[in-house]
Symmetry: C2
Subunit: 460 residues, 2 copies
């Protein structure tokens, strides 16, 4: 009898059916019950082991669901399969990479200035949305909440000159999910992507993940060179016209017009990533290309992380009519990625005019901080390095002559308590960026001084 | 003189520099100032128009930034480019698709039962996270918050038998961003994807967007047939073993073991999507394949939308060691998609044991509701249709003989005030699903009665 060695403990915390299930399963997997063997009936089990019929039924049912037993009508239960599970190795607690506790001066780009952050106001809006029951217990619209799309259409026009209607706006949790969506919508049409060099790495990552052919395009002082676009064979062009890396300033309108003409002539498509496009503080922001007559040929991408809270993952794109229609026809098979609560909070925040107030305040704060940082860098590094302001990136960049590369120098600085952002650069030279977004103004002088003392021994 | 027709209004709300900028830009774009023409100096402008030098400087600076003017050192300002912007058509207010106001009985899957929803508790956790300043004003960890990954490793082992360590867990805003990540990480290695037929459409969408070759695999009563996997040439297999559509029950362990053996033998990879895997209520959930010795060959995907709040977009995956290493080496070029606030709230919610309590409550609620719905369907449709419970999908499915297809029948039902979910089915037959997740129990009898009276005229 198979039941002799089964001991069920009525005082255990483990339910009786579970104890029974475990014992039988053990016997099956241990080979004590062979595949094909007939099991005792539920009635017999309950009598022999002194358990209720319900207990025996529950155990058998679970064994059937998992495929160990099979129930044959008018016949009974049989052993169906014996599977020996391998024991998993015990889980280790891994190290979580670098520790943040020893960073005395953080010129990294993880933070924004909390003085400009409207934290209390943002909390108020999130709380107000949280209190609506139907909102929290239902799924969001796949395209993004209609309330937010309406506000974004208005906001995009007002602040960035973007020509948008809510039905052509798609919201997503950052630029990457939106670019994935674009690559999927374009399908075969995305034959070759032209990018600036260097390109925003998170965008390039998506194109490479989709295994799309990529052309890195040469630039002159106005940005990407139109002739290079024509000769590259690219049919999609990814640009950051507000924030061109190599220029350190926005792309001038004449070049924008030439690239729009390329799109018009060749039936090409431009993806305009307007990262921090509204955040310029040295002059008024340049309006978006999309509004320069490029509605049919431009996908506009906008985001809020630096404007609102870095922790909030909300970006949006404005699609041309054709792509918007294709997207909506497939809508049911795309899920929204952005938090519904945060979307609705943002909609009310924009509606009440706070984003404009916030922009004004941030421009003032960043204008002052950038000036302070540039002055400090000139004071300490002035003779040794090239210093440049990357305005919408909210960074100052120093180019050093060093035997070490940027990553090594950044690690040395971090070990000494100063976080900076390493950038690629040519042989024998290293570019480091110092973000002035997160650090408090009163910590900047000491931070720059410490950085100088740490890295100057490695510079030529 | 170009300045004669410029009228600046000192009483206007529009800043003087902006008025001046607009006027000059208009002249350039209107062709009244030719490209190459020299502009008057800042001093002369300020004198002739009676504005401050700062005002004139600001206007010129903006025109330079945008590329309309160029400043030549020791010479002055020149017209650089004349770009005529096309006027964008006025934005229309679009229709937002179907209106929800006329749905009397909602058997759709947009909602969950609010009795099980712990709304107040969830609010409490979100509020507590919101009150931490550093949390809100900083970016999250690209891989997902360490606190949450630690809880998920524990939770996955406890509830699903998943063998996970926090360093191999990646969090994302839903299954789609995670699948995109997987496709990107696999690159060339994802030669051909084998899927169940029908497949979870949101997953199939991602594979199609990546233009990966797809094999739809035949199934017997245990699920995907191993021989078909071998002969398909697939090297990646996407499965929903807890929730196999065609079976209406979990895949038995014997089949799981056979498929794991396929992965072991052919160096294949299994993506195990454990959608609602923990939510079974008729029997104890079947543990995940990943824990059955498949740690090295299985990517495990878990999610929370039905378990927690549909509005919360948090899913996670457990990667095998090799892929986890590759991901971490590329980490800096992937952004986290899930809301940091909601991640941290979920971490504390799990830590305090609420997810287990909630699961127990939901299982009870859904067990009762499924029984009620099946009884009602039998009562009204019993003779005419086939009725089946799709347990983890939280739906009952009816198969009708009708001249109309499922989509048409669902539209007819919706027009009559009842929302149901259309499913594909063969010629002359239509499958409709009724979710019992969101609808209140007291509304079910009238809802099923109304649905019956609406669609029975269309059935044979």
């Amino acid at each position: 009898m198979i039941f002799e060695p089964i001991f069920l403990d009525g005082n255990s915390d483990i339910p009786m059916y579970r104890q029974l299930y475990d014992s039988i399963r053990e016997k099956i997997c241990g080979g004590k019950l062979a595949v094909g063997e007939k099991m005792p009936s539920i009635r017999r089990i309950s009598e022999e082991l002194g358990v209720s019929r319900t207990t025996a039924e529950q155990a058998y049912q679970q064994l059937c669901v998992e495929g160990y037993l099979i129930s044959r009508p008018q016949s009974g239960y049989y052993v169906e399969a014996a599977v020996t599970e391998k024991k998993a190795p015990p889980a280790e607690e891994p190290s979580e990479g670098e520790s943040f506790s020893d960073v005395l001066f953080d010129f990294g780009s993880r933070y924004i200035d909390s003085r400009g952050s409207d934290l209390d106001l943002w909390r108020k809006y999130v709380r107000s949305v949280l209190s609506r029951e139907d909102t929290v217990t239902s799924y969001g619209h796949y395209q993004g909440e209609p309330e937010l799309r309406r506000e974004l259409a208005r906001y995009g026009m007002l602040l960035r000159g973007v020509n948008a209607t809510p039905d052509r706006i798609v919201i997503g949790a950052g630029v990457q999910p939106l670019l994935s969506l674009i690559c999927g919508l374009l399908g075969e049409r995305a034959g070759r992507i032209g990018i600036e060099s260097p390109c925003f790495p998170h965008a390039e990552r998506v194109f490479r993940d989709f295994r799309l052919p990529i052309s890195e395009l040469g630039q002159d002082k106005y940005g990407v060179i139109p002739q290079e676009v024509y000769s590259s064979g690219a049919n999609v062009l990814y640009l950051n016209p507000s924030n061109t890396e190599s220029l350190g300033r926005p792309m001038p309108v004449s070049r924008r017009a030439e690239l729009l003409e390329w799109a018009e002539r060749t039936d090409g498509l431009i993806i305009e990533d307007d990262y921090n496009g509204a955040l310029r503080f040295k002059s008024r922001p340049v309006p978006a290309m999309q509004g320069m007559g490029g509605t049919g040929k431009v996908i506009y991408l906008g985001s809020f992380s630096k404007l609102l809270m870095p922790s909030v993952r909300i970006s949006y794109m404005v699609l041309p009519y054709g792509l918007a229609e294709l997207y909506r026809s497939r809508g049911a098979s795309y899920n929204q990625t952005s938090s519904k609560i945060e979307q609705l909070a943002l909609a009310e925040y924009i509606r009440d005019g706070h984003i404009e107030k916030r922009l004004r305040r941030l421009r003032k704060i960043y204008s002052e901080k950038s000036q302070q940082l540039l002055t400090l860098l000139n004071e300490y590094f002035g003779r040794a390095v090239k210093i440049r302001l990357a305005e919408t990136a909210l960074c100052a960049e120093i180019s050093l002559n060093s035997g070490k590369n940027a990553r090594e120098l950044a690690e040395i600085a971090l070990a000494g308590g100063v976080r900076v952002i390493p950038m690629d650069a040519g042989e024998g030279s290293a570019k480091l960026r110092l973000s002035f977004a997160g650090i408090q103004p009163e910590k900047m002088p000491e931070g720059v001084k410490l950085l100088h003392s740490i890295i100057i021994p490695y510079c030529r």
